[in-house]
Structure formats: C-alpha cells, structure tokens
C-alpha cells in the first residue's frame, strides 16, 4: 500500500464520516452536489480526458438516468431497478450517439454531441404524452428517512466508484489504447487498435456512471423538467469540472468539482445576480493562467522542478 493509496482510503473514510459532524442539510446538499459532479467529471474524463474526445453532450446520459427512473416507476417498477433501466437507456443512447459522432473528429465531434443532446432535450419537451413535457415528471424517492445523508453517501460512493474505475482503466491495456487514440488517432489505428470499439467502450462506461448520477440528482429533487436534466448547462458543467481540474488525471475532476461547486455556491450567495458573471470570469481566468487545469498545472510544475533538481543523465547529453 503506497502513500497515495493510504491517502485515498483516508479521504474516502473521512468523506463517509462527514454527515456525523455536519448537521446542516444545506451544507450536506452542497457536498452532495460536490461529490455528484466529481463523479460526473470523472465519468466524462474517461471519454474527454483519456480518449481526448471532447463530448459536450453528456446531458443525454444524465437525462436518460433521470427520466429512466421517473418513467419506469410509472410503469410499476420499484425505484432501484428503475435506476438500472436508466443506466440501460443511457448506454443505448451512448451506442447510437457514439456510432454517429465518433466518426467525426475535433470540433465536429463536439458539435455532433451537442446536437444529439439537444435533440433529446427538445424531444423530451415536446413528447408531452411520454414525459409530461415542460410540466415535468415526478421522480420516486430512492431513500426514506435520513434522506439528505443517504443522498450524500450515495454520491460519495458513486464518486469513489468512478475514481476506482478510472484507476483500473488507466492501468489496463484498454486505458493505454484510449491514451494512444488521444495522442494520435491515425497512429493508434495503424498499430492495430480498433479505435471505434475502444472509444465506444469508454463512452458506455462513462454513460452508465453519468446515468446513475442523473437518477440520484432527479430523485433528490423529486421532480424534473427536460431543460434541467437534458440541458446544455449540465453538459457544459460536467466538462468544465474536468477541464478546470485537469483532463486526463484522476484528481483533476475531483479538484475541479471542489472548486467549481464551492465557488458557484459562494457566488450565488455573495454576488447574487452577478454570479454567472463571476463564474464566467473564473473560467476565463483558468484558461489564461492555468491552461492545463489546476491539477495538470501542478503536475507539470512538479515535473519541471524535479527535472531541474536532478541534472539530466550523461547519455542524454551525449545523444544531443
């Protein structure tokens, strides 16, 4: 067990114990959001960070989880199996959306993911017979008694699951395939990596985790409308959490969620109507001064410092 393992275990245990210290429901709800978006950022990171595919339509899977839960219980299914239905629907969406969009690259891919998510959002608004449209749909409660605590714990568990999945992926052949695709898709293809299948597999895992987060979110509110769960805001926030922290790192999305959720909660209370202005300013600041994201920048600085501390080995010089 290395130091980072011990640290992770301590953080996990600490996070689970928080509700015994923090009594305020409001604070716990903010923390729920924090862990929920950590999980979402980590899930997005598999596709956006490791495979380098900039998805800006993750609300498709989030909304699938939310509406999957809401609509299956209406058909008489118990609440928890309905979460499973949400996962399956999200994975089905991922198959279709991935099939369409993974053939495209760069900005075209990003635009295609936006378009797919928007088609779902608008359809959910328009198909009032199925979803209730803008009037909304009732969502069953996943917990009874100790509600806020239970939601908090499930978000912590989901974030830990997402982190563990990320760790497992990064250490597997599959993870290296993903990173190869990110670095150079044509080269990856030329060395025999089935890039289409690999990207799709990453998206399926990502979509499943995102759907669970969507179900949790919906069930906390007990009521959802399409703009809330299928909206561009969710897609953007998920991607921003990961990019702010640093894409392609495990700690990145968690740090990103910590900063973004704390900041937006503070801004809402302090700056009131100007909170989006400040939020936008924060984004611009990060882009200009921390272009690799927060964790990414720290990692790069550390590597540079280490290189400076240790003079390069002689053969390097000889080679140069």
């Amino acid at each position: 067990m290395t130091r980072s393992h011990a640290l992770a275990a301590a953080a996990f245990a600490g996070a689970l114990l928080v509700p015994f210290v923090v009594r305020s429901d409001y604070t716990l709800q903010v923390l729920f959001r924090l862990f929920l978006f950590s999980a979402l950022g980590l899930a997005w990171n598999l596709v956006g960070g490791y495979a380098g595919q900039l998805s800006l339509g993750h609300s498709a899977y989030f909304g699938a989880g939310a509406y999957g839960l809401a609509l299956s219980t209406r058909l008489g299914l118990p609440a928890w199996p309905s979460v499973g239905v949400g996962i399956l629907v999200a994975m089905l969406f991922a198959l279709v959306i991935g099939g369409v969009s993974f053939r495209l690259r760069g900005p075209y891919f990003a635009l295609a993911t936006i378009a797919c998510a928007e088609i779902l959002r608008l359809s959910a608004k328009n198909l009032t017979g199925l979803t209730g449209g803008d009037v909304g749909a009732a969502v069953p409660a996943l917990f009874s008694g100790q509600v806020v605590r239970s939601f908090y714990w499930s978000a912590v568990l989901l974030a830990s699951l997402a982190a563990a999945a990320t760790l497992a992926v990064t250490r597997s052949r599959f993870g290296y395939y993903l990173m190869a695709i990110r670095e150079d898709e044509d080269t990856a293809l030329s060395v025999g990596i089935d890039t289409a299948k690999t990207k799709l597999a990453a998206l399926l895992i990502s979509a499943a985790l995102t759907a669970v987060a969507g179900s949790l979110y919906a069930s906390l509110f007990l009521y959802i409308v399409p703009d809330q769960v299928f909206g561009l805001d969710i897609s953007n926030e998920v991607a921003i959490v990961a990019m702010l922290g640093g894409v392609g790192t495990i700690a990145g999305p968690i740090v990103g969620a910590l900063i973004l959720e704390t900041a937006s909660e503070l801004f809402k209370n302090v700056f009131l109507e100007a909170h989006l202005l400040i939020y936008g300013g924060l984004l611009v600041f990060v882009v200009l001064f921390l272009p690799d994201g927060i964790v990414g920048t720290i990692v790069r600085r550390r590597t540079l410092a280490r290189r400076r501390a240790k003079p390069p080995r002689a053969p390097d010089h000889a080679a140069a």
């Binding site: 495209l104 100007a274 984004l283």
Partner: protein
C-alpha cells in the same frame, strides 16, 4: 393545409433565413480561419441587439440606420477579444478555446442582464403592422423585408470581402492550409484578428437587423449560437457562401416544420438535419471538402 399556406410559410422562412445567413456567415468566417467552436457567437449577436436598442433609445433614429453602430462597436469588441484573450491561447488548445468562449458568453449575458434586467423588450418601428401584398393571397411583413434586404446587401459585401480583398484571400489561405499560410508571408495573427472582428461585427449587425422583428432579452443569443453551428456544418467547413445558403435553407425548413408539425419541432428538425449531414456528408451539403 393549402399550397398557398405552404408557399407563404416558405416566403416567411426565406426572410428569416436571410438574417440567419448573416449570423452563420460570421461564424463560418471565424470557424474557417481559427477552427474554434465559438460559443459566444450568439451572445455577440445579442450584444448587437442591445447596442442598437440603446442607440435607438438615445437618438430616436430608426434601427435600420443604426446597424452600422452595432457593427462598428462589435468589430472593435471582436478585435479586443481576439488580442486580449484568444491570441493568448496556444495553438490546438481546443478544450481551452471552448471553455474560454463559454466563459465569455456567460459574462456577456449576465452583464447585460445586470444592466437591463431579464425583461423582454420589443422595438416598435411603426412598420410592424404593414404587410405588402404579393398577389395570390400572399403577403410579406414590411420590417422583415427591410431587414432581409439590408442583410442581403451586407452578405454580398462580406462575400466580396472574403473573395476579393487581400485580407479575405489570406483568410481563405489560412482556412485551407493553416501550416502553409505563414510560409506565404501571411501575418496569421493579424488576419485572424480581422476575421474574428469581422465575424463578430456580422453577428452584431444581424442582431441590429433582428431587433425590429424579434423580442429582445439577455439569453436571446443562445438559440442563435446553436443555429449558427448548424449552418456552418451544413454549409461545409468554413465556407461562407455555404453558410449563407444553409441559413436560407434553415429558415425555410424551420418555417415549414412549424406549419406542418408545430413550432416546437423546428429546432429538432434543424439538429436532425445537422446530425444526418455530419454522418453522411461531413463536408457539408454545399461543400466539397471532407471534414
């Protein structure tokens, strides 16, 4: 549904499409030269609307004469955004460009909301109830016709700028082969700055022309950002003629969709068209290049 209603819807769609075209051309110019997904394009258009709104309120002059003000202010604004923000990003930082433009869009929208409030405004030019009869029971709404005519004239100007001027040629060179452009002696930064500023100004002018016929509110630009993306992709890889044509097509398609299936499906059809084109003809309907 009679054929007459369909033709009328198509005419109305064409008029809307003329304004879409201007928004789309601006984004196509930016996208072609810089390959950035500019999420702030609709916000720029919205700023153009508010600038005109204020200018008309202060001077009492018709918005049809005030659009150069919006264009000029947005040109300067675009140049500032380029030199102050975009040019500082390293090349190929797609993620960061997107974050930056999302941030910029939030800043613009929220700043406007703080100053003007979230209320809807409508500028009455006195023309709103004037309809021109075309015969066969068809008619067109006067403010739309005026806006369309000005938008068409500016679109032609934009086209000539890109096709005939040295800067326009340089912009197309960058769009075609970014790596070779500097080798041909093109000052890439300067051309990108001008293109970005011109694209932003086009959005601002489109906003000014939209003001007499559209409600004004801080988030009005959001839907136009999305539509502009659709136009750029349909038109093919930064082709401004393609984007303009796509704008007209989009206007007609939306109008006919509204007529037959209802207004709420118009944007869905836009996006379905978009996904289909991306899947089967990624070079765009009117483009020849591959994406």
């Amino acid at each position: 549904m009679t054929a007459q209603a369909a033709v009328q819807a198509a005419i109305n769609g064409l008029l809307t499409g003329g304004l879409y075209a201007l928004v789309g051309m601006g984004l196509a110019l930016i996208f072609g030269v810089m390959r950035i997904v500019n999420f702030a394009h609709g916000a720029f258009m919205m700023l153009g609307m508010y600038i005109t709104f204020v200018a008309v309120g202060a001077t009492g002059v018709s918005p049809y004469l005030m659009f150069p003000v919006a264009g000029l202010v947005m040109f300067v604004f675009g140049a500032l955004v380029y030199y102050g923000l975009l040019s500082r990003l390293p090349a190929g930082a797609d993620f960061m460009q997107i974050l930056l433009t999302i941030g910029l869009s939030l800043i613009c929208t929220d700043a406007v909301q703080l100053v003007f409030g979230a209320d809807y405004h409508l500028l009455n030019t006195g023309l709103a109830s004037t309809n021109l009869a075309l015969g066969y029971g068809l008619s067109v709404n006067a403010p739309w016709v005026v806006s369309f005519a000005i938008a068409a004239a500016i679109s032609v100007g934009l086209y000539l700028f890109v096709l005939r001027t040295m800067t326009g040629r340089a912009a197309r060179a960058i769009a075609q082969t970014p790596a070779a452009a500097p080798l041909m002696g093109i000052n890439v930064h300067r051309v990108q700055a001008i293109s970005f500023a011109v694209g932003t100004a086009a959005a601002g002018v489109a906003g000014a022309l939209l003001l007499p016929v559209f409600y004004l509110y801080p988030t009005v630009g959001d839907q136009f950002t999305e539509k502009a993306f659709v136009m750029v992709v349909l038109g093919g890889m930064g082709s401004i003629v393609g984007a303009a044509t796509a704008g007209l097509v989009l206007g007609v398609v939306e109008s006919l969709t509204s007529l037959y299936w209802g207004n709420q499906w118009a944007l869905v059809v836009d996006f379905v068209l978009f996904v289909l084109v991306l899947s089967f003809k990624p070079g765009g309907i009117f483009g020849t290049e591959r994406a």
